[in-house]
Symmetry: C2
Subunit: 440 residues, 2 copies
């Protein structure tokens, strides 16, 4: 076989120990935060019925769904009946539809796990990647929006993301904006899509696109872009939005969210951001994105989407939620291995007839919670086995040769300093437990 | 849509909070044990290239593989190019082939996660289910076999399985058995498959099958079955096996494993079991099964399989390993919700203008690690909100009405006793932290 055939399939990854432990650590930290907020975990199957997924992600999305061939006699038809999970929201809608009254009201759930998309793989873009969502289904309270923002922000703090900012806007404020600037209502959607590019393109390009691609009058386009990108954009917008009912309602929503999330997030880490659009058109209320110093793009986002659950096949219930860009966050966090990954004790075996005694030492150390490994290769040379202990990043090595046995002691070698001490077997645990961190 | 369409696909399950937390708790306990033994986690993708999996599980197995349709322009061909993971061993062989020298030697890894098989769903039989494997690749040391048995046994202790026994045998001992009883070598494989049924069928049925289906002479069949099922079967077998070279080598292997695993497992929880066969013919050395009081069948099994990694496409390296029947174990463990799942503090909201203050209380409680929930539905009636707090199994409810606010206190209600006390907001954390268990 060509060696390429041993690589994982295109766009997927094997996670060996260090990378996996780093991922799991981040997932655990996030889970702990969500649990403190009373979000409940939900895990749905890796695949859904094909018809549950098709038509939910647009034409482009549909093409990226991994479909599973029917089985047995139906395999030859070449038809699919199942498909791999594409996101966490459609399964949520299905669960709300299935379990309705058995779920708490509101249903606050988090979901964290892989999703699969047949995208062209690229730098930082995978076909199997983790998503991490929190949602509150069945509450229209502004507190639900605030709880979502607080939980995500708290999770970012927990995993060690520094200097992030929560950008806040509202779909109602955007509707008011279009109204106040006299954008014809049939052009509104396209105008917003173009305005969404203000953080990537220079203002004049955006203004040009508003005219060329969105048929907006040059005067309106220029004024809109100038006001949104001015140093005092927030004040200009607050002034402008006050002149529209939708605008005022939007500002109220925004201010309410800023007020309610402030005790946790802090006022200085949140900002009303009038040009924040969020591409997806299912949002109905407040929207937000979280950006961090040194990380291009956003690391979390979300908002209120009061009719999405129904559109996805569930009941018509108000809902809000957000996503952590957990793959990006893991990719950007410090990659250094941590002390917790070290082996506490590496047990050498130089005299084969001591194997059973050695297993006994290991059993006692492990019972005391120490991460203990036994030499399993075939060399009987101490130097080679100490090299192995060093490779395993062991704190201590145990040596139990004929002389040790005769003297009734075990030699404990500090692998960092090279110091050795003779310890009676019955004192091994007491001797080592205090000197090793608890294993995880 | 018919409501059945909201069910998860046939053979799969949605895990809601309680069930998922129970599963995760078991997984975490097992992971901690494996880590203490120096087994490293490995996570491979949910799918592999189709050709990596086909031909590895026999004809029956091949039919149960979930195949993924090619995408884009190739979708219409009805061909598959990927397939869902069917077990943890083939991906291990692929990883050993890919990362060879980058892996520690020996490579001790555990893998825990879902696999998918298109089996007919039934009671306790799923199409998506978790597997949990430990393996040592690259060591032929008897210590590696013992470490595997100890790690699995330790994991069973950790998750709370009581009264289990490790049944031990050896492929070499079985070869010796066939030799000593004069079974023609071409009949050996079939004879072992039939003998494997001794724990399900009465001895005379097994003897009859040996004659009818396996062409064994009636005298040999009867003697074999009688000796294997005698009350002193172990002594008879020890005597018989001493007369064959393979038999003696097998007994040595078995005794070595019993000796080396004894410090951890305990002599009284292990037993040489001459009639233990283990169906899979890739085992080459010691084999074992773990059975538990009150659980039919085995809850863990494994052995040495020195050429399997090569047969699966990897290099030719000695290896041994075992599997925990983690779905069965979870299914049989105590199903009661545990205290750790309780909400610590349920925060009511009866005066809407106190929302921001309430968010502040919640933020401080969560920062102190307390699992805290805020009332997000629309009622402003205290009775209804206390009902919600009870439904959430909260230990305490916070009440902050106009009178409380005026008095500068928060009312803390003990939900178990109904006792209420007035606490100044700045003392809330101190008041509650000691009375709630740390949230997990």
């Amino acid at each position: 076989m060509a060696s390429q055939q041993f690589e994982p399939p295109s766009g997927t990854r094997d996670f060996l120990a260090d990378a996996l432990r780093r991922r799991e650590r981040v997932f655990t930290q996030i889970r702990e935060v969500f649990a403190r907020y009373g979000f409940e975990p939900l895990q749905t199957p890796a695949f859904e019925r094909l018809e549950t997924l098709t038509g939910k992600y647009g034409d482009e999305g549909d093409k990226l769904i991994f479909k599973i061939l029917r089985r047995g006699e139906h395999e030859a038809t070449g038809e699919a009946d199942l498909a791999l999970r594409y996101d966490m929201t459609v399964p949520l809608a299905r669960v709300v539809a299935t379990y309705g009254s058995k779920l708490p009201t509101p249903y606050k759930r988090y979901a964290m796990g892989p999703v699969w998309r047949a995208d062209r793989p690229g730098k930082g873009r995978f076909r199997e990647f983790a998503q991490c969502d929190v949602d509150v289904v069945g509450s229209s309270s502004p507190l639900a929006d605030a709880e979502t923002v607080c939980a995500l922000s708290d999770a970012l703090d927990a995993v060690g993301v520094r200097d992030f900012t929560v950008l806040v806007n509202s779909r109602q404020a955007l509707a008011g904006l279009l109204e106040v600037y006299g954008v014809p209502s049939d052009l509104g959607g396209g105008v917003l899509i173009t305005l969404d590019k203000l953080d990537k393109l220079p203002p004049d390009k955006v203004a040009a696109e508003l005219v060329d691609a969105r048929s907006l009058s040059p005067g309106t386009a220029e004024k809109l872009v100038a006001d949104l990108t001015a140093f005092d954009a927030v004040e200009r917008m607050r002034g402008a939005l006050a002149g529209s009912e939708a605008g005022r309602a939007g500002l109220d929503e925004i201010d309410r969210l800023l007020e309610l999330a402030a005790p946790k997030v802090g006022k200085d880490r949140m900002a009303f951001t009038p040009r924040l659009v969020r591409g997806l058109d299912y949002y109905t209320g407040v929207i937000f994105e979280i950006t961090a110093e040194g990380m291009p793009g956003s690391i979390a986002s979300g908002g209120r989407y009061d009719h999405l659950i129904e559109a996805l096949g569930g009941p018509d219930v108000p809902a809000c939620g957000g996503s952590l860009g957990v793959e990006r966050i893991i990719g950007l966090l410090d990659q250094t291995a941590e002390d917790g990954d070290r082996t506490d004790v590496a047990v050498t075996l130089i005299a084969p007839d001591t194997a059973a005694e050695i297993m006994g030492f290991a059993a006692r150390l492990r019972d005391a919670g120490l991460r203990t490994e036994i030499y399993l290769a075939s060399s009987r040379k101490l130097a080679k086995q100490l090299k192995w202990a060093a490779d395993r990043r062991a704190r201590f090595a145990l040596i139990y040769g004929a002389a040790d046995r005769e003297a009734g002691v075990v030699t404990v070698r500090d692998m960092d300093t090279g110091d050795q001490s003779q310890v009676p077997p019955e004192e091994l645990v007491a001797h080592l437990a205090g000197r090793c961190a608890p294993s995880s």
